[in-house]
């Protein structure tokens, strides 16, 4: 069974020099778990330059462009927490939920993530998580809701 959020893709004590660096870290984790080809990372940077993936609540959702879809091996998430914060075009980002998605599952996935972030308590829990288990518990339901 392939899980959307692999525990190996949860990194809670990351540091980054800036937005692009944070995206490269996110991309490197997706590559490391075998979800995407290395070329996907460049499409993540392209997407971010075209339009910010900041969604609110200190969370950004870096992901590739449509052109990067073919570089996705399997749908996956990576959660990287930057306790020191990253300046995301003026918005402070603490958590990146990086997305690798081939098809349209992406809309349900974002809707499920948005529902979680709209709940202030759960959004704070995610920003303050220091245990991978807490992140898996918070974001785990996304897998069930998007699984067909």
């Amino acid at each position: 069974m392939s899980e959307l959020l692999d525990p190996r893709a949860v990194r809670l004590a990351e540091t980054a020099a800036g937005r692009d660096d944070a995206i490269r870290r996110c991309g490197a984790v997706l590559v490391e778990i075998g979800a995407v080809h290395p070329g996907y990372v460049d499409t993540m940077l392209d997407r971010e330059r075209s339009i910010s993936t900041y969604v609110g609540e200190g969370v950004a959702i870096p992901h590739g462009t449509l052109a990067g879809k073919d570089l996705v091996e399997r749908d996956a998430l990576a959660v990287l927490r930057f306790p020191g914060g990253v300046d995301w075009g003026g918005e402070p980002v603490t958590v990146c939920v990086a997305i690798a998605a081939r098809g349209d599952g992406h809309v349900e996935l974002l809707a499920a993530l948005a529902e979680i972030l709209l709940d202030e308590d759960r959004a704070r829990e995610l920003r303050e998580a220091t245990e991978p288990g807490a992140v898996i518990r918070l974001l785990g339901p996304i897998q069930e809701e998007t699984k067909r």
Binding site: R47, S50, I51, S52, T53, Y54, V55, G56, E57, I61, H63, T65, L66, D104, H106, V107, E108, L110, A111, A112, L113, A114, E115, L117, L118
Partner: protein
């Protein structure tokens, strides 16, 4: 209250990029706009998370509502934006 019913035109639905373009346009509008889908409660069109949480796909019908001066013009332009394929015009 001025209302528009629109069918989402973006090929992959109201996901990150189309949602952001829509939310930014709604934030610039002179009136408060709400968006809802089906029987769910209306949410602020300028809230990225609320718009993402709709989970609207291509073909999903959404309802825009606004009140006050300029409501009709605002709704017309936002409705036109939603009906377009916002994935098609890449920068």
């Amino acid at each position: 209250m001025p209302t528009r019913t629109v069918t989402v035109g973006s090929a992959s639905g109201l996901h990150a990029r189309p949602a952001k373009i829509f939310v930014e346009a709604a934030a610039k509008a002179p009136v408060k706009v709400t968006i809802r889908s089906g029987d769910r409660r209306p949410v602020p069109a300028r809230s990225m998370l609320s718009v993402l949480a709709l989970g609207a796909k291509q073909g999903t019908e959404v309802i825009l509502e606004a009140e006050g001066d300029g409501a009709d013009e605002t709704l017309d332009s936002l409705a036109a934006l939603l009906a377009k394929d916002l994935d098609a015009d890449h920068a």
